[in-house]
């Protein structure tokens, strides 16, 4: 009984740490969006610098998961949860990487003055951020409907990506001098699109964690 209680307490702590990780990642996306909107160099540098913190958090949570699996003989349901968390961690970590990548690209850009306002890309990033946020909410509340809905948003992020790329290509054709900047912007948009993909993954992991179905 008391062993089981101890296990439940560790599970709860793990749960809190997962949410902690999620909020760290969401925070870094938020800052990335702000950096995009305000063309803020200092903020971009901060996001790049803080990626280490997220990597560290990922390792902590992973170790905790493995420790629990190895020492506590979890039941099938708990095991499924732990395995899902392990996979979710990878997605969260990748999302943070993409945010950091966006900020690095942004640092190459700043000072040049944008060919196209970053508004579209920032809006796309807001969409992707909301997907991550919804995935986390679905995880916290065991909300399978919310988890399932996430993949629907992904297609609008993809559409957004297509229009942004088309606009930028048009611009390159009209003004070849801006090719370098436009390519960088396309890369940034690609990273945003990737964040959306990982959020979709998160949504699927959460729904499969709740329902047990693949």
């Amino acid at each position: 009984m008391s062993i089981r209680n101890g296990f439940n307490a560790s599970l709860h702590n793990l749960h809190l740490d997962v949410v902690e990780m999620a909020s760290l990642v969401e925070y870094s996306i938020d800052e990335t969006i702000l950096a995009l909107q305000q063309n803020n160099r200092a903020l971009a540098q901060k996001v790049v610098a803080e990626d280490d913190k997220i990597d560290k958090m990922e390792r902590i949570v992973e170790n905790q998961c493995i420790h629990l699996i190895a020492t506590q003989q979890p039941l099938a349901k708990e095991l499924r949860r732990l395995m899902s968390i392990l996979k979710m961690m990878t997605d969260f970590e990748r999302i943070a990487d993409h945010a950091a990548d966006i900020c690095e690209l942004l640092l190459e850009l700043t000072g040049e003055g944008y060919v196209k306002p970053l508004k579209d890309i920032a809006e796309m990033a807001v969409m992707a951020r909301n997907m991550v946020k919804n995935a986390t909410d679905a995880y916290i509340n065991d909300d399978i409907t919310m988890a399932v809905q996430i993949s629907a948003t992904d297609s609008s992020v993809d559409d957004y990506f297509d229009t942004v790329v088309a606009d930028l290509q048009e611009m390159m054709r009209k003004n070849p001098a801006q090719i370098k900047q436009a390519t960088t912007l396309i890369f940034i948009a690609k990273h945003v699109e990737k964040i959306g993909d990982h959020a979709t993954n998160l949504g699927e992991l959460v729904s499969c964690m709740i329902s047990g179905k693949k």
């Binding site: 909020s23 969401e26 925070y27």
Partner: protein
């Protein structure tokens, strides 16, 4: 419960029946044997009397005859034996052929003690036999009469006995079972009633009652349950009322409030806080705040100050949550115990979005103003430098430059005038110099001022006033300023030969001003921003016309001063109409 009672009860009954069975078997057996003995003894003593009354016992036929006679009536085997062990008579066998009986234990005992007893298996008749021997003294000659009866009857009786007892036990069990069910019901029913009752209480339903009339422990229990319920109901109602009061107080606070315990679990949260963080989760109380409000900086701040911050000290953090700016204040909650231990953290959230936006607007305004002032100044300075550099000697060029300087100086003065005007209206909450005026005379004054520029651009202006409308209660200068700015725009953003029309209508105490032109119009996407300071649709055109970008924001402030309304209708290429409603008619 009922099951348990029943099984316990049955086990007990079986156990008792078993014990009783064994006892009664033993008692019955003992009783039967002593009965047999008694019978043998009493018949023996009758025979003894008979033998004593005989004249001659050595006439063997006499004894044998007695044995035969009694044996016949009693079904008992009767044998006479003398002290040497010789058989003197027997009721069943020919006594002459019988062996010497001196070694039989009952006979030995009888000669010694007067009476003997033995139970043995007899090989000759293959049965258990009970023997009783009684010594008889006949004229100093001792002989023994032995009576024997087969006691396998006892075994027959035992089986019968066992089946009787078994039947009895069965009946007892059945009866006890029926009684037991009733008994168990009698105990468990009120207990079940009490259980449902207390479950109801646990669910918070204090309406139910238990009706148990029993005059025993269970009745007493039921009574104390009822008492407990009443007491609980009272306490809970009181608590609930206090809670409602507390909640009402918290919810009417302007800022949000959250109290968390030392493990960051939410103890209390006000509605404002729930709204501020857009919390949709239903289960909030007792939940870790991290799971409810997912703001990294907020949670980090909480964690950092978990045990560190000193007594009475407040910690402040500025965060951005979605599109809002919040100021978060933390202070420790202390327990009542003398140790003054921290039992949690109180979080107060203040929405500073408006303040932030104002700050932002102000700083934008300052930078806009300096930019706007710099442009004409730079140009003035540039022309003066050129003049100093020699251009002054070329009369024609010098005059042109001076004209430009004049225009720029005019623009500077316009700008400064507008800024002063704006800041004056902005700081006013109510107009002070209100008076009673004739509306038409105000409008003619406006026309006098505007006339010159209208003529210059060849714009035709005219007005129309409702007959019902003559006097207004207003600050004349402000109303004039408002109309001048609107008509001025109608002239400036018009084509040569165009027209501007002013209509004044009355709707109850509201005066509705329509300023309509047939000029260039405004595209829809600009309309919402027209009233922002320094916003111009076409910067170049506005500048050339001597515009400052402040005209409409002054109009908006004046309208706000009177709690009025502005409406803009416009179509590119067709014209623009501004409709202003002010509650100033008398």
């Amino acid at each position: 419960m009922q099951r348990k009672i029943m099984t316990g009860y049955l086990v007990m009954i079986l156990f008792c029946a078993f014990i009783i069975g064994i006892f009664s078997y033993h008692v019955a057996q003992k009783h039967y044997i002593s009965e047999v003995e008694n019978r043998l003894l009493s018949i023996g003593s009758i025979i003894k009397q008979k033998v004593i009354s005989l004249e001659d016992i050595y006439d063997h036929n006499n004894l044998n005859q007695i044995a035969l006679d009694y044996g016949d009536i009693t079904d008992i085997r009767i044998t006479f034996i003398d002290a040497k062990g010789n058989v003197l008579g027997d009721s069943m066998a020919d006594y002459m052929t019988l062996k010497n009986h001196s070694d039989r234990p009952e006979i030995i005992q009888a000669f010694r003690e007067g009476q003997g007893e033995s139970t043995r298996y007899s090989d000759s008749i293959k049965r258990y036999l009970k023997y009783i021997a009684i010594k008889i003294r006949h004229n100093q000659v001792p002989i023994v009469v032995r009576l024997s009866i087969p006691i396998d009857d006892i075994h027959v009786i035992r089986n019968e006995l066992i089946s009787f007892i078994a039947a009895g036990v069965l009946v007892a069990i059945l009866a006890a079972g029926v009684l037991g069910v009733q008994f168990a019901n009698k105990i468990t029913r009120p207990i079940n009633q009490l259980t449902t009752f207390s479950k109801d209480i646990a669910k918070g339903n204090f309406k139910g009652t238990v009706e148990i009339e029993a005059n025993n422990e269970i009745g007493a229990l039921a009574q104390s349950f009822m008492d407990m319920k009443t007491q609980l109901d009272k306490t809970i109602t009181e608590l609930w009322e206090k809670n409602v009061e507390m909640k009402a107080i918290l919810d009417s606070m302007i800022g949000g409030l959250i109290a968390v315990d030392n493990d960051n679990r939410i103890i209390r949260i006000s509605n404002t806080a729930i709204e501020m963080f857009g919390i949709k989760k239903k289960k909030i109380i007792g939940e870790n705040i991290l799971l409810v409000i997912r703001s990294h900086r907020f949670n980090q701040f909480l964690r950092e100050n978990r045990d560190s911050f000193p007594l009475g000290n407040q910690q402040v953090l500025d965060i951005q949550y979605e599109n809002k700016f919040y100021k978060i204040y933390l202070s420790r909650i202390e327990g009542k115990s003398p140790a003054n231990k921290k039992i949690g953290t109180l979080i107060i959230i203040q929405d500073v979005t408006n303040i932030r936006k104002l700050e932002q607007m102000r700083s934008e305004f300052v930078s806009n103003v300096s930019h706007e002032l710099k442009t004409p100044l730079t140009s003035i300075k540039g022309f003066i430098d050129t003049l100093k550099g020699g251009a002054i000697h070329d009369k024609e060029v010098a005059e042109r430059f001076l004209d430009i300087i004049d225009i720029e100086a005019e623009r500077l003065s316009n700008l400064i005038g507008d800024i002063l005007e704006l800041s004056e209206i902005e700081t006013m909450s109510q107009d002070e110099h209100m008076d009673d005026y004739n509306l038409e005379s105000i409008i003619t004054e406006v026309f006098d001022i505007i006339h010159h520029s209208a003529v210059k651009k060849n714009i035709h202006i005219h007005y129309e006033i409702d007959e019902a409308l003559s006097r207004v209660y207003v600050n004349k200068d402000k109303l004039k300023q408002m109309l001048i700015n609107l008509i001025d725009n109608g002239i400036k953003y018009n084509n040569a030969g165009g027209a501007v029309k002013i209509l004044c209508r009355r709707r109850h105490d509201i005066v509705e001003f329509h300023v309509r032109d047939d000029g260039i119009g405004i595209a829809p996407e600009h309309i919402s921003r027209l009233f922002e300071r320094f916003y111009r649709v076409d910067k170049g055109r506005s500048r050339n016309q001597g515009g400052t970008g402040l005209g409409l924001s002054i109009v908006k402030h004046i309208v706000n001063l009177y709690d009025g309304q502005i409406q803009v209708k416009s179509e590119v290429g067709k014209g623009t109409e501004f409709i202003i409603r002010l509650p100033i008619a008398i």
